[in-house]
């Protein structure tokens, strides 16, 4: 690997494996554990969720993670963002990651929109100074106007989503991790969101997007297809979506056939 490769590389996932321990029946109480221990009824089975997954993402790239439900996409996203520690392997990241897995994490319904901007951004890992700097753009983008001073329990769900989205995309970040492209608010606002994401792309923000729909082609040129916890294909998005849809169609046909 040459030096220029190193500086271009932003994210590198090396041989990541992850499994969850599952009791046959969920044991989450002490009583249950003791009763089962006495009955020798503690069958654990491991559910292998990711198997030896490796890939690299360069600065400014936009990558789509596709795959059917349960293929391990969201778990991979959590590992990449550092929420879950991987069982094996490692993740290296050379920039600031904003996980946009949930809009408005930590919102407190009794507090005002303004207070929640600070709370949400602080939970996402931003210091006060940076939030102060971006406060006006955030409020402006959310189009909440005077409502920003009202407690957010008076907000509609669309208003809440707008506030959450506005916080997430207006704060500086090198990698944006998105779980499903978020169609937020009404048509006009959702267009604004797409435009904002375009703008971030143009400014060189790296994207990693989990999606089922082909709408991610708007941002991504590369796709990674996860199947059963392993990478089945990695490459040009059009090519991979073609194979992926073919595979999905084949499966449904197979099932509906008599």
């Amino acid at each position: 690997m040459t030096h220029s490769d190193l500086s271009r590389r932003l994210l590198s996932v090396e041989h990541v494996s992850m499994s969850f321990r599952r009791y046959d029946v969920g044991v989450d109480s002490l009583k249950e554990l003791i009763v089962r221990a006495f009955r020798r009824d503690l069958h654990k089975n491991k559910f292998q969720c990711l198997k030896d997954v490796s890939f690299q993402v360069d600065r400014g790239e936009a990558v789509a993670l596709i795959g059917k439900n349960g293929a391990g996409k969201s778990t991979l996203l959590k590992i990449v963002s550092g929420i879950l520690p991987p069982e094996q392997g490692s993740v290296f990241c050379g920039g600031r990651i904003t996980p946009l897995l949930r809009l408005g994490a930590g919102f407190d319904s009794n507090a005002s929109g303004l207070e929640n901007i600070y709370l949400n951004a602080a939970i996402l890992g931003y210091p006060k100074k940076e939030i102060d700097e971006k406060l006006l753009p955030i409020i402006e983008f959310s189009e909440l106007g005077d409502f920003i001073r009202a407690p957010i329990k008076t907000y509609s769900s669309g208003m809440l989503a707008r506030l959450g989205f506005s916080v997430a995309v207006n704060l500086p970040s090198e990698i944006l991790l998105i779980d499903e492209i978020l169609a937020v608010g009404d048509l006009a606002f959702s267009r604004k969101c797409y435009r904002k994401l375009d703008e971030l792309r143009a400014n060189g923000t790296t994207f990693l997007i989990v999606s089922h729909s082909e709408s991610v082609r708007r941002y991504c040129s590369r796709a990674i297809w996860l199947d059963g916890g392993t990478i089945r294909a990695d490459g040009d998005i059009d090519q991979i979506f073609k194979e992926y849809s073919a595979c999905m169609l084949q499966k449904t046909e197979f099932k509906t056939a008599p």
Binding site: S29, L30, S81, I83, A111, L119, L124, G125, P127
Partner: protein, 263 residues
């Protein structure tokens, strides 16, 4: 540089979380923050009314209402911080699963919130002390101002338990019921409304002396009576808190990698 930045960022988040806790605690009530003062005051009134019949008016050289209130506000720091920390990680499931926020920050914020509430309760204690001093039952002593020396020990002791319980609750959801029983037992095993001297049972007294909360409560009352507590009393309290925080942190850091997967 980034370490320093991260540290200040964590402090900032901690401040916001404590603010949120305090605001939400009394949010719905009309008189709001006044409840933090009124609540211990009313509790003390009930207890003073009920128990002064049993135990007389002066206890260990301290006026009985002051005795009760002083014991209770100290015990409440431990009680409220551990009881609120117990479910805190599970309650913040969303944040812990969707953002990179450090899990430790939630139990810590609960302990700090209880500490803030303690200062409001202190106002209640001062009010009672002034009232009792006016009727000649209590006299002020300068030693009261030593009380901040007790607070770090008390907070660390509570934080240790808070770490332990919040992590354990992620795995065993029924410890909530067990802990509420333990808390009740603990309340009665701490001389809050009675006094060890009047207990007249050496075995019981010996047993109660093993209770760390007895030493915290006694240390505070000693100051109110007007004596500078011996260094050994402070040392004992700090020893308890060191053991508690060490075990709590150890337990928390051992379970830490498995918390997100089990939430």
């Amino acid at each position: 540089m980034t370490k320093k930045r991260n540290f200040f960022q964590a402090l900032f988040l901690l401040r916001l979380l404590v603010q949120r806790n305090i605001k939400n605690q009394y949010y719905r009530s009309v008189i709001g923050i006044l409840w933090t003062v009124l609540n211990p005051l009313l509790n003390m009134l009930v207890m003073a009314f009920v128990f002064s019949v049993l135990f007389g008016s002066e206890t260990d050289g301290l006026d009985y209402p002051v005795y009760i209130l002083a014991g209770n506000i100290i015990f409440n720091v431990m009680r409220s911080s551990t009881a609120s920390a117990l479910p805190c990680l599970v309650q913040q499931r969303d944040m812990l699963l969707k953002t990179k926020v450090h899990a430790e920050i939630f139990p810590i914020s609960n302990v700090l919130s209880s500490l803030v509430t303690f200062f409001f309760s202190l106002i209640a204690l001062l009010l009672v002390m002034i009232l009792r001093a006016m009727s000649g039952f209590y006299s002020f002593h300068w030693q009261i101002i030593l009380f901040p020396l007790l607070l770090p020990a008390l907070s660390l002791f509570s934080a240790g338990i808070a770490f332990f319980l919040s992590a354990l609750y992620v795995f065993f959801r029924d410890i909530k019921h067990i802990y509420s029983v333990i808390l009740t037992l603990w309340t009665y095993l701490t001389p809050l409304f009675y006094s060890l001297k009047k207990l007249q049972s050496e075995t019981a007294a010996r047993f109660i002396r093993l209770n760390p909360m007895y030493h915290f409560v006694t240390l505070f009352r000693t100051m109110l009576v007007g004596t500078v507590p011996p260094l050994s009393s402070f040392a004992l309290c700090y020893l308890f808190s060191a053991i508690s925080i060490a075990l709590g942190c150890l337990f928390f850091s051992l379970l830490r990698p498995r918390i997100a997967a089990r939430l």
